[in-house]
């Protein structure tokens, strides 16, 4: 029990760092780029947020050492793992892109915007999976099927991923309205929705785990 509470504390701090990195990434380009605003130069903001989240995530999970213990310690194994992780990441970007197009994003016209959103979504969801679970599809399927979580990090993954996706989904609603607001331009409302969803997920996850700590029984712990 104490172990769990310790873990939750760790998660709270990790999530706080990730959340603050998003805020910093939002503010930082002010100092480097002129005429920067979240809506006006949206793609800059988008890349800065996804980059910083990626870097912070990788660092934290590497420092915490949550990722599954490597089977071999050879360099070639590590390299191949990194390469496979990159491939997974790219594949997930493509997957998100395809899903966005299926949802009605234009095929050719704003392909760059769509792909940027896909990158943002991947760095919010897939990258964390890669950090926690490694490039192991079986493990992913286990985590994302019902009652498949085996640690609090799995649960947090489930919650943040679901929140991000739902945030993006909800963010798409105002697009067809004829209000002619600047944030209705594709993909601003969706990426903002994704970010708010992700932040909400970061906040909710430790709280939910703490609240349900009695019911949570992780098989392998």
């Amino acid at each position: 029990m104490r172990d769990l509470e310790f873990n939750i504390k760790g998660m709270v701090s990790a999530h706080a760092i990730i959340a603050s990195s998003i805020f910093i990434a939002t503010l930082m380009p002010h100092f480097f780029a002129e005429k920067y605003s979240v809506i006006g130069t949206h793609l800059v903001w988008l890349y800065s947020v996804s980059g910083s989240v990626a870097v912070v995530n990788i660092t934290i999970f590497w420092l915490l050492g949550i990722s599954p213990p490597p089977k071999k310690h050879t360099l070639s194994y590590k390299v191949s793992k990194v390469v496979r992780s990159c491939l997974h990441f790219i594949a997930s970007c493509l997957f998100f892109h395809v899903v966005l197009v299926l949802y009605g994003a234009t095929l050719l016209e704003s392909a760059l915007e769509t792909f940027s959103l896909a990158v943002l979504l991947s760095s919010f969801t897939t990258l964390r999976c890669l950090c926690v679970l490694g490039p192991n599809v079986q493990a992913w399927i286990r985590v994302f099927s019902r009652e498949g979580a085996m640690s609090i990090w799995d649960t947090s993954l489930q919650i943040t991923t679901a929140c991000t996706v739902i945030g993006t989904w909800v963010g798409a609603f105002p697009i067809p309205l004829d209000w002619d607001r600047p944030w209705q331009v594709w993909p601003i409302s969706c990426s903002l929705g994704a970010t708010f969803g992700f932040l909400t997920g970061l906040i909710i996850a430790p709280g939910w785990i703490y609240w349900h700590r009695k019911q949570l029984t992780y098989k392998c712990k």
Partner: protein, 965 residues
């Protein structure tokens, strides 16, 4: 009384339909009409106002123009004359507008921008109600006071060439006429040549006074290929040439001393960026109005045309021709046109116009004295009288003309105030009928909701306490109460309510139904409360919803909530596309869960296997490889559906905001892509045959194949697609023979199907025969859809069949979705396919050409039926598939599924309809009520009607089953 849930649902829907009808009757206001059925006569005209008595005042009206030619070009947009297109393609008209003796205006048409209401507006000066659109297809004789009647009454001779709507509106008014029909939209040259061919001879003759020409070609081009099509230019040049011809002929005939002639160029409505019309966007309502006559002063240089209302044309023309203004006119005359006349005449015209408006106002408003315009009019009339007195005294100083101008201004203000007061009248609703209708549908919804646990139970039977409540005291008391309320309302509100104008038998019947419903509802609620208190906390077991249930619930409710916003209604297709995409993804996740978890837990999870063995639909001995391929097929089904939906989404752009974007259907319909279109429609027809034939008997298979072949040859005959062996030019016909050939096969298939259904019910009770019969009925409907759909829409039909087949085979049966879930999914897909077809919540997108397939001339009932069928074919097809699917499910594993499905279908339709009716009542003074909310209301009402028909079909199938068991 215990009735099965399908019967219950059908009854509820039928009561709902009557409630909606009542609501619609109250909602759509009858247009303002003066109560006198007679027409204004010249002798009724008021004399010039005069203080004191002077025998010099005149009552006669002198015409200003000798001959009038009205050139009405259908869908002539304002920028086709005044804009860049006009400069390019209408040089002569442009020259007249800029330098000639002419007056030009932008005339604003009111929504609905459809031809017949616009013609009525131009000839009667009234604003026809929204409901006139629905009547647009068969225009009855115009009985109101109108310009043509007045002209004929004083012996003017009228000639008309053009759209035959006029001939139906004014059957005996024309000395000579030639009508062209407006329904063969693909023809845009012949239809205008039929008008122009008479022009030369007519212009030479001098036995007429008014010539009306109504050109349809431009409108047809707009419908075919939009306002930026390359066909527009030549058409405008042609029109320009016609105008030049008329104008030169009119000016050459003018002799010294005779009255000048007048040429009027106008449009009935504009055209939106996609080329359709019916709504109230700016390009649709702004039409040009150019009046050309040698009487007007020559202009020097172009100034921006002023803005007038379309109804203002009527008083202007009437006074110009020396006719009395029609009684129901709400327009005010266009003063620049009369600038060349004397000040006395101008004041006289103003006085006549405002006097007519005052008469109409007195007739339609009880407290007309309070209106602003009324006082202004009396003030102006008084000063008019003073002016006349001064004038007749021979005063000719500048003071007099200044005073006259002041009076003129007072008249203009009074006219404006009167006109706006009258237009406001249009927003009056018959609240009593609306409220009664609304409460009726609300009761139905409550009944449906209260019966939910019973209707979805295993027995699928609902207990209706009808006899007990009909024999109870509260029923009689309620009945008396309702009667007294009715009498109270009717005596106080006067004759403006529809319900009060009914004779007492239908009124009593309505009241009885109303109170019986209320009583039944109360007793159902009471029983529910009692049983709820008894069982209490017992049934709170946390049987959680799956993700799918959550989505289905959120989606249904979210759609209902979104109906409150006009922009969401305009773009409702986006909501549905979004939801079915999400639905597919959730299904995909479900499938993944099932197949991947199954593999992982196959060793230790026996319960799943046990449940699987309950399912007799699965062919139990499947080889390992069979399971593997089955799994991959099941996994790819949602993805395939997603891909199909994405393709169909880009086939037809619909809605309002992005309607103008190019889409696949525009690309396919260009003549240079005819080969691609032919290939696509042939492939779609083949696919349709492939998917439909699998369950049919041999005879129906052959009939189906021949029918689909007939569909293709019909399209080839009409000129939409090419025959591979006939690449050369072919005569375009109406294709009546081919279409009738297909109708015969449709009827044959439907007959075989219903014969099988009857046999299965009466003689053998064979479930296989029944499902085959059902499927045959379904395939008959598919064939009818294939015939009515435009060729570029055939892929929609093919994709819907593809999705239905794969989903039924790999998803719904495999994942054991219950009847309610399957019904909701069918409903969603039906909605999405409604929009995939290119429909929207705007009247303009209804494809009326479907109503003329296989008909030589316009026949009201078949045309309306065919149009409604082709519009709602998406929801209808999915509903029919649902019947087939659930009835096969009923025979194999779930005995109550048809009842459940029928109940859910009725509930799914009732919730949005009822909420929408309440919303519309609340938003009845919203700015967009006529342009956005009313069309949607009509669509909802029609959809409910279609659903009722389907539910009755459901009930019949369910009865079959009950009869068997």
């Amino acid at each position: 009384m215990k009735i099965s849930s399908s019967v219950f649902a059908s009854f509820c829907l039928m009561i709902e339909i009557s409630g909606i009808a009542l609501f619609l009757r109250g909602f759509f206001p009858a247009p303002i009409k003066s109560s006198f059925s007679s027409k204004t006569k010249l002798s009724d005209l008021p004399a010039e106002p005069l203080t004191g008595n002077n025998p010099n005042s005149s009552t006669i009206l002198v015409p200003l123009f000798h001959r009038v030619v009205i050139v009405l070009i259908d869908a002539l947009r304002e920028d086709f004359v005044f804009g860049a297109k006009g400069r390019q393609y209408m040089p002569y008209t442009q020259h007249l507008v800029e330098w000639g003796s002419s007056h030009s205006f932008v005339a604003k048409a009111r929504a609905p921008t459809v031809t017949m209401p616009r013609i009525k507006a131009l000839t009667t000066g009234s604003i026809p109600g929204f409901i006139d659109v629905v009547m647009n297809l068969n225009s009855p004789v115009l009985l109101e006071d109108n310009l043509l009647w007045q002209a004929k009454a004083i012996g003017k001779r009228i000639i008309f060439y053009g759209d035959d709507t006029w001939i139906r509106l004014f059957p005996k008014h024309f000395m000579e006429y030639d009508g062209t029909t407006s329904f063969f939209v693909s023809d845009y040259t012949e239809v205008d040549n039929n008008v122009t061919r008479h022009l030369d001879s007519t212009l030479k003759r001098d036995d007429w006074d008014i010539l009306i020409l109504h050109y349809l070609g431009l409108d047809h081009i707009g419908h075919l290929s939009g306002p930026h099509s390359s066909l527009i230019g030549p058409k405008l040049l042609e029109m320009d040439d016609i105008l030049r011809k008329i104008h030169s002929s009119l000016t050459s005939q003018e002799t010294e001393g005779s009255l000048p002639n007048l040429l009027v160029l106008c449009g009935d409505h504009g055209m939106s960026e996609t080329g359709s019309h019916g709504g109230s966007s700016d390009p649709e309502i702004n039409t040009p109005l150019v009046l050309i006559s040698s009487a007007f002063k020559r202009k020097v240089g172009m100034d921006n045309p002023g803005t007038v209302e379309q109804v203002d044309v009527l008083p202007t023309l009437a006074l110009g021709l020396g006719l009395p203004i029609s009684q129901n006119n709400v327009g005010c005359l266009i003063s620049p046109v009369f600038e060349h006349t004397s000040l006395r005449d101008q004041l006289r015209f103003m006085h006549l116009n405002s006097f007519q408006l005052i008469c109409l106002l007195k007739d339609s408003t009880p407290n007309f004295q309070k209106e602003e315009g009324y006082e202004q009019f009396h003030f102006a009339e008084k000063s008019h009288g003073n002016w006349i007195k001064l004038y007749l005294e021979g005063n000719t100083s500048e003071v007099l003309s200044n005073l006259g101008r002041k009076v003129l201004r007072q008249y203009v203000d009074a006219l404006k105030a009167l006109s706006s007061a009258l237009s406001k009248q249009l927003g009056k609703y018959d609240m009593y009928s609306m409220i009664v209708g609304m409460v009726l549908v609300l009761q139905v919804l409550m009944a449906l909701l209260l019966a939910m646990p019973e209707a979805l139970s295993r027995g699928a039977e609902v207990e209706i306490p009808l006899t007990s409540s009909l024999l109870s005291l509260p029923f009689y008391m309620l009945w008396l109460l309702c009667c007294s309320i009715h009498v109270l309302v009717c005596t106080s509100a006067g004759s403006s309510c529809y319900l009060c104008n009914l004779s007492w038998i239908p009124a009593l019947a309505a009241i009885t139904t109303f109170s019986a419903m209320l009583c039944v509802l109360l007793s159902m609620a009471g029983r529910k409360l009692a049983s709820g208190a008894k069982t209490g906390t017992k049934n709170v077991n946390g049987s959680g919803f799956s993700e799918l249930d959550v989505l289905l619930l959120i989606g249904t409710l979210g759609n209902v909530i979104s109906l409150g916003s006009s922009s969401f209604i305009e773009e409702e297709h986006q909501t549905w596309y979004f939801m079915i995409n999400t639905l597919c993804l959730v299904i995909f996740q479900d499938v993944c869960c099932k197949y991947f978890r199954e593999r992982r837990n196959s060793s230790d999870d026996d319960s799943y296997l046990a449940s699987k063995q309950d399912l007799p639909s699965l062919l139990s001995p499947i080889s390992e490889q069979g399971i593997g391929s089955h799994k991959w097929l099941a996994l790819s089904t949602p993805l395939l559906t997603l891909a199909c939906c994405r393709l169909l989404r880009s086939l037809n752009q619909t809605g309002v905001q992005w309607m103008h974007l190019p889409d696949l259907s525009h690309w396919l319909n260009r003549w240079e892509h005819k080969a691609e279109l032919s290939l696509l429609s042939a492939a779609s027809l083949l696919l349709i045959f492939f998917f439909v034939q699998k369950c049919c008997s041999l005879v129906s298979k052959i009939a189906l194949a021949l029918g689909l072949l007939g569909v293709y040859s019909y399209r080839a005959a009409v000129g939409n697609v090419l025959f591979p062996w006939q690449l050369g030019s072919r005569d375009i016909s109406k294709g009546t023979v081919e279409a009738r050939f297909v109708y015969i096969f449709i009827l044959g298939i439907l007959f075989t199907g219903s014969k099988d259904l009857l046999r299965s019910q009466v003689i053998t009770a064979d479930s296989r025969l029944k499902s085959r019969g059902l499927w045959e009925v379904y395939s008959g409907i598919v064939l009818l859809c294939a015939l009515l759909f435009r060729p570029h829409n055939l892929p929609v039909l093919a994709c819907s069949l593809l999705i239905q087949t794969t989903m039924a085979q790999y998803i719904w049966k495999e994942l054991q979705y219950d009847a309610a879930q399957t019904t909701i999914m069918h409903y969603w897909f039906g909605q999405a396919f409604f929009y995939f077809q290119g429909n929207s919540n705007n009247i303009a997108t209804v494809d009326i050409s479907a109503g003329f397939v296989g008909l030589e001339s316009y026949l009201a009932i078949p045309a309306i039926f065919l149009t409604a069928f082709s519009t709602y074919s998406g929801p209808l097809l999915w509903a029919c598939h649902l019947v087939c699917y659930l009835s096969s499910a009923q025979d194999s594993w779930n005995p109550a599924s048809v009842g459940h499905g029928c109940y859910c279908f009725a509930l799914l339709r009732s919730i949005p309809t009822v909420v929408y009716i309440i919303l519309v009542t609340a938003l009845r003074y919203h700015l967009f009520i006529w342009s956005v909310f009313s069309p949607k209301l009509l669509y909802e009402a029609m959809h409910t009607l279609v659903t009722t028909v389907v539910c009755i079909f459901f009930t019949a199938m369910d009865q079959n089953h009950i009869g068997q068991s």
